[in-house]
């Protein structure tokens, strides 16, 4: 096998998988998802600890991805749609029985999580959120019911494990880990309710949308900011697909502080865990 030879090769060779990649993988296994700037700091520390010369971060990640592809893992880079910060996540690329085991959840807990995902994705007016009260009340309604208290504990665990995010207003939204790792599942299961950003083609649950009801164009906040000219907040800008004039204020998924849906205010977009 390949691995055999690699151990004997010069560990300083940056294009080969070496002790720095190994330690960085351990870091990613423990973090799962983190800001890219933090990941680069960790990479610095890793290089010091393993005594390996620092390489270009992207090249370093590419070497890892080439190796871990075999075991259906990948380091995926993305942008946090809530705060526009670059992030990196370790994800399973295959969702089979074995991948299911990777979760620390019981089948019951998974059923609850799936239900919450459904309610978030299918929320009215593309709110992509669920209130704490509604979420807690779902537990007892399951086929194998769990109590409200158990639901509450489970929600805390899901937030802790970075699957869900709790906004300051007490609403739960998808954490970036869910967006990155469960994207395929969500797109397949809730076809029509899941939108992709026209710019980056990644799933989007908070951003700007076309004023034309029938137009499917959605943009991440950061993608929209990059696409539309800075100080031109008016009639001049148009939807890239249907040419309807684009209103920067026409937002969804709790991005707009003034918008109200379902009679619940959708203000604070910041999460409790920061």
């Amino acid at each position: 096998m390949e691995g055999e030879n690699e151990q004997n090769r010069d560990p300083q060779e940056s294009s080969e998988y070496n002790s720095s990649h190994r330690l960085f993988m351990q870091a990613m296994l423990s973090h799962r998802i983190l800001e890219e700037s933090r990941a680069e700091e960790i990479y610095d520390n890793v290089c010091v600890k393993t005594n390996v010369d620092k390489n270009d971060f992207s090249d370093f990640i590419a070497v890892i991805n080439k190796e871990i592809n075999d075991v259906d893992l990948a380091l995926r880079r993305s942008v946090d749609q809530y705060n526009s910060v670059a992030i990196i996540a370790l994800v399973n690329t295959k969702s089979d029985e074995v991948a299911k085991l990777a979760t620390t959840y019981t089948p019951n807990e998974l059923a609850y999580f799936k239900r919450i995902l459904e309610l978030i994705i299918t929320a009215d007016n593309e709110a992509y959120s669920i209130s704490s009260i509604a979420a807690i009340r779902e537990g007892p309604k399951l086929k194998s019911p769990i109590s409200q208290r158990e639901s509450q504990e489970l929600l805390a665990k899901l937030v802790n494990d970075q699957w869900l995010k709790k906004r300051r207003d007490g609403y739960y939204v998808l954490h970036m880990r869910s967006i990155i790792e469960l994207q395929d599942y969500l797109k397949e299961t809730f076809e029509g309710d899941v939108h992709e950003c026209l710019m980056c083609m990644e799933m989007v649950t908070i951003g700007e949308r076309c004023s034309q009801e029938r137009c499917s164009v959605r943009l991440h906040l950061h993608c929209a900011a990059g696409y539309f000219p800075e100080d031109d907040n008016g009639a001049a800008i148009k939807c890239p697909t249907c040419s309807t004039s684009w209103k920067r204020s026409n937002k969804f998924g709790g991005a707009n502080t003034s918008r109200r849906s379902n009679g619940h205010s959708q203000t604070a977009n910041e999460s409790e865990d920061g």
Partner: protein
Amino acid sequence: MSTRTRRRQIQASERELDEEDYAESSTSTSQREAKRSRLPESTYDEIDSQMTLEQSSQDLERKVNDTVRYALACEHRKQIIRRDDIAKKVLGSSSRAFPVIFEKTQKKLRHLFGMELTELASKEKPTAAGAKKTQKAEHKAATSKAYILRNILPEEQNDPDIIHHTDEEHESTGLLYIILALLFVNEQTMDDETLTAHLDRLRVPNESESFGDRPKVLDGYVRQGYLARQKLALESNQSDRAVFQYSWGPRSKAEIPEQNMVGFISSVSN
């Protein structure tokens, strides 16, 4: 042998020369079928066995990769990895290939993650009461067929700035170390009442924000293999309730070298 058959054989061997790398090329089924109809039986078998070999080596790779993922998943939950579970949940029909797959899995775990599967010490029953049973068991079970995934990178690389531990993990580890230290200085075992008294004295409350329900916490340590718990046989039990005896679990023995524990204890007493 008829002339016709011979001619076919000659044709076939010529074709074989042309297509030596036949088995490696990704020939479609229809092409393969077409060739079959022109080749004699013996050549079918040859090709078949080559195909099977290739297929089985791919299959083997797949099983190795699945075992790697299974091991990572179990360790994530701090669940003990059992050979039976690997055979049942991952290998399925190819469970006879376990030794080969295990070796390749180890190589891959070491290479990709700097980790390896470590077999846990088989169950010992530390009490006098269990002695009769144990003697038999010791002879029988030389290996536990249970593993944990252990970090084999140099200890100085296990830096909190690199490897992340949640607050709960820190709290849980802290309490565990205290219990392990208590057991260590008490000649490796302690009954539940004494342990509880110690925890009370250390103000580890029965129920708390950070540790949760104390019996549950202990159950967790037992499940993860950090602590071993054994019910004392009645004859050595003078009280009227069931008495349990705690000792170091197999995971603790595998993960924590004795001198680390000595270091930990002496760092407290100094």
